[in-house]
Amino acid sequence: MNKRWRPWTNIVGSFSMRFAALLSLVFTVAVLLAGALSYILLSQELKTRLSNEARQMAENLAIVYQADGLEEVINAIDAGVMSTKDHSNLYLFLDNNLQKVAGNFELAAPFSGVKDISDSVIFSGEDREGNNQGEQYLAFGKKVSEGWIITARDTSWLVDSREVLIQSVAWGLGAALLLAVGTALFLAHQNERRIERLGAILDSAAFGDLGQRFAEPGRANDDITRIALQVNEVLGRLAQNIENLQQVTTDVAHDMRAPLTRLRTKLEPHYLRGDLPKDTQHDLQKAMSEMDTIVSTFDAILRLAQIESGSANIARLPVDLSAICLTMGEMLEPVAVELGHELTVNCGAEVLVNGDKDLLSQAIVNLIENAFNHCPAPALIELTTGITDAGAFFKVCDSGHGIEEQERTAVLQRFYRLEKSRSNAGNGLGLSLVNAIAIAHHGQITLSDNAPGLCATFKFSRNNESMIN
């Protein structure tokens, strides 16, 4: 079996790949949903914590105010400002006239409770143009008798945390997707190759080689292995059946030919004596020729059975179809003349196919002899070889009566004979033998109207090119 390059479209279209793609999609959506949920929960949690912290700071200052008065609060605020020069914490004491008493920022309007003051915070003094402009702050305002205590927490790290979360989800998802798609492609490719091997085994089985089996030592059982095992079993049974068939044909052949041989040995010496009355001599000759007909019909049935069952070893060698046609045409041309027909052979350029020279010769001879038998003389019979885009072919066209369209498939069946030609010589196996030979060569026989007459075309498919063992 020759190795063929598998295009990626096959893998993409394969079941495993589609399954993997679907799984990856579901996985992605799930990760995104989980990410979004974490984002919301984390944001809320952090926000609550920060507002609690801001509140705690304000409450602490309020307790100091209650216990020790304004002076101590201002000291506490100054200490806080000193220790958070990066403005991560903000402090402000506004008196009842909305004048800043202490703190590290300014605010136009005081408030009570939690508030986002990112838009309204103004830094005082040297910080006016500082780095913290534009930062996010969550503030808590508390009214005391001499004014407002307002504290705030920098929430920019909340934003940072969110970014970290989004980034880690994105990176994680990307890596996981890459891994998933990679694994899926690898598995799909492997499965595709296994299915291809299984297909190749079935292909060769279809053309008679029943000896191949699907084997994967050491691989765990999966769906493909299970199907492959079944295929192996079926092939084994088929091989056994064919062997039985061969045994039967061998036995029948032997048991039938032995008495026929004896019969001939009884008849022949009398036939060869030459001193018998002419009538007796004639009858003897007739009897022997009838016997030859029995033998040849029997041979044809055997041959057909062997080709159809794939038990015949059919050669798969490159042969020039045109050369065979020329030889067979030349062989039959005098016979055509004798019968009052005209046989033309159009076999010029070399047409290479892989096949069995003997069988192809027989197919050509059968088709031409068929035309001889079924066309009233004088008929024009034409043998042609050629190659089209679909593959190589040879055809035999005649100018006889042709075959009705509805009967064209039936005549390829064994022992089928057209009613109008039943009186003609032949056993009704000629065309079915040609048909079997065509199938054994990955080809087919088509019968078409030649207006008037019949064209029998033996077409090789492009697959024929890969037939060389």
């Binding site: 061998t250 041989t261 010496p269 060869l272 030349e330 039959l332 016979v335």
Partner: protein
């Protein structure tokens, strides 16, 4: 010729022996493969005729054993199987010829003749002659009694085949195999027609016909 015939069917064997004896051969007839092996190992034979299906030891295995023991006597295999691979299998195993049952005794005897006197390649021969019929192998020109005869390529091959075997019977199947290389039987009278054409050229215009028909047997180019 001293011939060993291994044929398990007594009646057929007796008939063949009788026929071949009548033609001047001396025939030993055995009924199974093992006797055939013993017999052929102890006595020299000019030719072995082996039935393919025999009790004890089948013809094909017997043939392989003989060839392995460097017994080079020509072998004709007789078979009840007319299958596609049978002939090839037989020839591969070392048979020189192959005959499917039932066959005409004349067919067997013609094939024995052919094996006994296989044409030896004589390189120096450039012309064949049978009576007044000549064939120049270099110019591929035939002539009879000084008159040139135009032959088609296949007629030339057919005539050359006969002229290399003068006086020896050639059966229809032998001619199909040798001249057209086909191993099946065309239903139409291919051989008869070609012989008749050849006759028209080499015999008809002349007094004495050389290419004769033996009815039910074959053809012979008689000097």
């Amino acid at each position: 010729m001293k011939i060993l015939l291994a044929e398990d069917d007594g009646e057929t064997g007796a008939y063949i022996s009788k026929g071949l004896n009548a033609e001047g051969h001396s025939v030993d007839h055995v009924l199974n493969g093992r006797d055939a092996l013993t017999q052929s190992m102890t006595q020299p034979y000019d030719l072995l005729i082996l039935d393919r299906m025999m009790p004890e030891l089948d013809g094909l295995s017997l043939l392989k054993a003989l060839r392995a023991a460097h017994n080079t006597a020509p072998v004709i295999l007789l078979t009840a199987m007319g299958g596609l691979d049978e002939r090839v299998d037989g020839l591969k195993a070392g048979a020189d010829d192959y005959l499917v049952k039932p066959f005409a005794l004349a067919e067997l005897s013609a094939r024995i003749q052919a094996l006994a006197r296989r044409p030896v390649l004589q390189k120096e021969v450039t012309e064949l002659q049978v009576a007044d019929l000549k064939l120049d192998l270099l110019t591929r020109q035939a002539s009879r009694a000084g008159h040139e005869i135009d032959l088609q390529p296949r007629e030339y091959l057919l005539l050359e085949y006969f002229m290399r075997r003068p006086g020896r019977v050639q059966t229809r199947t032998m001619l199909l195999e040798a001249v057209w290389d086909i191993h099946f039987d065309p239903k139409t009278s291919v051989v008869e027609t070609h012989i008749s054409r050849l006759r028209g050229k080499i015999d008809k215009p002349f007094n004495k016909p050389l290419l004769q028909t033996l009815h039910g047997v074959g053809y012979v180019l008689q000097p």
